[in-house]
Symmetry: C2
Subunit: 338 residues, 2 copies
Amino acid sequence: MDQVNLKRLAKELNLAVSTVSRALSDSHDISEETKKKVLALARKLNYQPNPFARSLRNRSSKTIAVILPEIANNYFSVAINGIEEVAQANNYHVLIYITHESFQKEAAIVRLLLNGRVDGILMSLSGGAKDTDHLAELQKSNIPVVFFDRVSDTFDTIRVTTNNFESGYLATTHLISRNCQRIAYLTFSGDLSIEQQRMKGYLEAVQKHGLSTAEDLIVRCDTNAEESYKKIKEMLSRDDRPDGVFASVESLAIYVYEACAELRLRIPEDVKIIGFSNLRTASLLNPALTTITQPAFNMGREAARVLFEVLKKPHVRMEDNTIVLRSNLVERRSTAIT
Amino acid sequence: MDQVNLKRLAKELNLAVSTVSRALSDSHDISEETKKKVLALARKLNYQPNPFARSLRNRSSKTIAVILPEIANNYFSVAINGIEEVAQANNYHVLIYITHESFQKEAAIVRLLLNGRVDGILMSLSGGAKDTDHLAELQKSNIPVVFFDRVSDTFDTIRVTTNNFESGYLATTHLISRNCQRIAYLTFSGDLSIEQQRMKGYLEAVQKHGLSTAEDLIVRCDTNAEESYKKIKEMLSRDDRPDGVFASVESLAIYVYEACAELRLRIPEDVKIIGFSNLRTASLLNPALTTITQPAFNMGREAARVLFEVLKKPHVRMEDNTIVLRSNLVERRSTAIT
DNA sequence: TTGAAAGCGATACCAA
DNA sequence: TTGGTATCGCTTTCAA
């Protein structure tokens, strides 16, 4: 079957390729009559311009990339929803890449994108990444990047984030106001800027109230699920186990629930729990989980919106380049006074 | 800054463009010496071939599309994980499109892809779609399509699905064995093949045991969340309310929990619930939800695997073109005998 | 208002 | 083993 391209249309209409091209792009110097003829045939043959020829010629891919540490997580999947909505509105395509929290994968993916495959990148960093060469390369490449949620402190690009320090502080004081005396803090590697912000908030609140900041109250979980679960369970089995747990990452709160079930610890009687979480089912858990909830959809939408703003006028440098949205504390039974 | 392309490399090395191209693709008829020289310079200048020039020339995009009804849902996000893993292993890129259960959007997206932007498509249909013109166009376009989960009965392509009829039957008999007499069935529009399969299983089980199949036990929810919730709540408020509910879609099970909480109905004492669900937190709900769980990751992986099989040898027609994986019933407290 | 032709960057065929 | 050139499909400049 013959491809339908400009040449084909031109031949059937006895016109030049350039005329057909201009007619389709509604150029001013084409007569109404030919425009109509061209459009009619194009529709009849279901003409679709070849995207690669276009991209090659125009140096624009009409595509953005989203690089994420994971996707089976309500925060990120809702954020993608926001991103996709904006992209569709701008007639852009969205490429997805998942790093699975692997720094090597992240670097490899970024390098895949340096050659113009995408016009811009939305990115949430993988945990535990020390080396940032790939980010430096990105910055040199003139491809605009917007970080969201897990942003980079060291690179001067646009960021969409939440008030992590305040949220960390707020979550901790919430536990304290519920009579918790030994408050544990659960985090991933702790390397990410947002983890550090949240932890600073935790530490400041704990110190301000004269509570223990013993190192053994801080559990750093690596990406290995089993390992993390074991560490958490171990902490909850100790004699001096905490009476309050602040999970700075969604999945860790779930581990706490599972560990408590196994250890027959009652929530909130024996341990109170608060977690950063966008779980749809937080209110249906047993007991309902008190959460710090991030505006996932809006963060995705904002990040995409700013990216397209830059794509439309690349010469403009964003002055105030960090957009901070607010997370909400939603109080539920897991931190109720008993 | 000058682009690094073949021309540039050729000039700096005093070679022809074609020679450089062949050297980089490790062609047999290029001397080791020049290969080395070319590779060295390419690495030094960080040469990245232009993907669009390549795609234009080779008529291959190294990209697949995934079209989904929604993404903020554990089933689909885990399925994407499986898809992305296979795609990365094959050095392919993954475009994501979300239809939000809108038939119009689905059709528009499919039409965007008819022009060669992708080499293949993985697709899960949107609900309530009657018109299938866009699928017909797809089939004519020679772009291989693999349906997964929400497959099409009418189009003869490759399908990856689960044993929906049996699962529907099994879920229903499970409720019956837990002494349920009036079993409600919750579904979306009911237009999708998988919905019909599941419902057939439900009906057969109910009839076999001589229980009521009254129409008012079947609740068809449209895509509107509020509307769906109201319908479910209304059913649970009636005097002849069901004592067992089978939610054939994940989100509907959540509505049942929420409605029961509002109506002060106890699960499982007053109503027992089973649901198709891939919720990470099913076991932590109050009470833990008995589920039919689909192998989401494997379904994504299988679908992608078959797609790449076809992409590698397009002339081969798949004989047995439906792959059926098995869902599991996981019994939990929401269907416990009381 | 329309046509001819150059060029985007990579590949592959034909010559040498 | 290497070079020259046509080609993929589209856009755009220059000429007519």
